[in-house]
C-alpha cells in the first residue's frame, strides 16, 4: 500500500526524519507512535506530499508520488488541528470539498452520525474545538478511498463521538481499507490498532504487533511497554 525507502527530512538544521524505511501492507490499522517531535506528522505529511523529503522515495499504491497529485484521490486525510477558513459555513465547506474532489452522498449519513445538523449554517470560526473535529471527521470519511490517514483523530471528542469514531474505523477496516493513525492516547491505540510503528529520533525503532512489543520489552501492559522504550 505504502512503501517508504530511506526517507530523510530536515528543517534547516533540525533533522526530523533520518532514514525511515517502512512498508505498510494492504488492509488493517497501523498506529504510528512516538514521543513529541519524533517526526510522526512529518512522516504523514511526506506521504501526502505536503512536506517534500530531502532524500528517499515514497510509493503509494505502487506509484512514486514525486511530482504527482492525482494519487491523493486514493487518500483520505484527517489533519491534526482542524483549522478551517473561519468565515465559511459548515455546509459550504462540505459542499466545496465535494466540488473539489468528487460528489458523494456519504456526507449526509456522517452528519447525522455526529449530530452536526444544527451546525450546518454556522460559521466555522464560531464552532468549538470538538465540533470542528467532527466536521473534520465528516470531510475525511465521506470519500471512499482505500487509504485513510488520521492524525490525532480523538482530540476534543466527547465519549459518544469517540465510540462512534471507533465503530467507523472498524467498519472501514472491514471494507479492506488501510488506516494509518497517530495518537497519544495509548488505550485508544491498543483498542483499535493491529500493528504499531514506533518512531524514535527520526527512525523506525519498532514495527510489529502489540504483543510482540510487550514480549520485547518484558512489560505486562502496553502503556508501560511504550514507556520503557522511552526511558
Amino acid at each position: 500500500m505504502v512503501s517508504i525507502e530511506n526517507l530523510h527530512k530536515r528543517f534547516n538544521k533540525n533533522v526530523v526524519l533520518n532514514g525511515v524505511d517502512l512498508n505498510i501492507a494492504k488492509g488493517g490499522i497501523f498506529a504510528i507512535l512516538g514521543p513529541n517531535g519524533s517526526g510522526k506528522t512529518t512522516l504523514i505529511k511526506s506521504i501526502l506530499g505536503m512536506v517534500i523529503p530531502n532524500k528517499g522515495t515514497i510509493n503509494v499504491l505502487g506509484k512514486n508520488i514525486k511530482n504527482s497529485s492525482s494519487y491523493r484521490h486514493k487518500i483520505d486525510y484527517l489533519p491534526q488541528i482542524a483549522n478551517f477558513p473561519n468565515n465559511l459555513k459548515v455546509g459550504e465547506l462540505i459542499k466545496m470539498i465535494k466540488d473539489l474532489r468528487k460528489n458523494t452522498k456519504e456526507d449526509q449519513r456522517l452528519i447525522e452520525l455526529f449530530m452536526l445538523q444544527p451546525f450546518l449554517n454556522k460559521k466555522l470560526g464560531n464552532l468549538s474545538g470538538g465540533t470542528k473535529q467532527k466536521v473534520n471527521l465528516v470531510l475525511t470519511f465521506m470519500f471512499d478511498s482505500p487509504l485513510i490517514i488520521l492524525d490525532e483523530p480523538t482530540s476534543g471528542l466527547d465519549p459518544i463521538s469517540l465510540i462512534r469514531l471507533k465503530h467507523l474505523i472498524q467498519a472501514e477496516k472491514a471494507k479492506g481499507k488501510t488506516i494509518l493513525i497517530t495518537s497519544h492516547i495509548m488505550s485508544f491505540v491498543e483498542e483499535v490498532s493491529d500493528e504499531i510503528v514506533f518512531l524514535l529520533e527520526g527512525q523506525i525503532y519498532f514495527k510489529g504487533s502489540i504483543s510482540e512489543l510487550k514480549n520485547k520489552t518484558n512489560q505486562p501492559d502496553f502503556e508501560h511497554a511504550i514507556a520503557s522504550i522511552l526511558t
Binding site: 528543517f11 483549522n83 478551517f84 477558513p85 470539498i97 474532489r101
Partner: protein
Amino acid sequence: MLKILKYSFFDLMRSRWSYVYFAFYLLLGIVLLFLNNDLSKAVITLMNVIIVLVPLIGTIFGVMYYYSSKEFTELLLAQPLKRPSIFLGQYLGVAISLSMSLILGLGIPFIAYGLLKSNTIWDFSLLLITGTFLTLIFTALAFNIALTNENKIKGFGYAILLWLFLAIIYDGLFLMSLVLFEDYPLDKLSLVGTMLNPIDLSRTLILLKLDISALLGYTGAIFKKFFGTNFGLIVSFIMLAVWVVLPVLRIVFKSKKKDF
C-alpha cells in the same frame, strides 16, 4: 485552478475590503469628474493616484490574503490538486477582484459622465489597463514575499519596504545617479532604470500616450526620442508583461518546493 480561483474570488467578494476599495475609486472618480469638469486633467490626477495607490493595495492585500488563507491552503494541499494550480488560483482570485474594484469603481463615474463619446476614452482605457497590470505585478510580488517568509510580521515588513522602495526611494536614487553622473551620456542608463521599475514604467507609458511633454521629464523625453510614441508604448507593454510573468513563474517554482 479555475475552481480555486472561483472560491478565492467569491471569498474576497464577500469581504468588506473589496467594497471599501471599490467605493474609494467610485468616490474619487465622481469627485474628479463632476467637480473638476476637465477630463484630461482628471485623467492626470487619476494617474498620479493610481500609480502610487494600486501597488500599495496590491502588495498589502496579496500578503494579507496569503497569510489569512493559510488554513484553507493547507486543507487544499491534502486534496488531489496540483500545487501551482492552488497558488495561481488564489493569486488570480486576489488580483482579479482588486482589478475589478478598480475598473468598476472608476469606470462607472466615467461612463456616467459621457466618456464613451469623448476622445479621451483611449487615455482612460490605458489608465485602467496600466492599473490592472500594476495590480497583477504587485499582487504577484506580494505572493512571492509571503511564500518565502513564514513569519507574518516579516512578510508584511518586506511588502511595505518593497512598495516604499519602488514607489518612492527608487526615484530618489535614480535622480541622484543622474545628477552624479551628469558628465556622462545617460540615455541608456535612464532607459534601463525606467524599465526596471514597473511604477516608473507605467508613468512613462501613460505620459507618452497623453503626450504632455511638460510632464514627461528627462526619462520620458529619452523614451520618446529613442522609441517614438508608438514603439515606446509597445516596448513598455512588453516590459510590464515581463514584470507579471517573472514573479508568477517564481510562485509556481517556489510553491513546488515548499513544506507545509
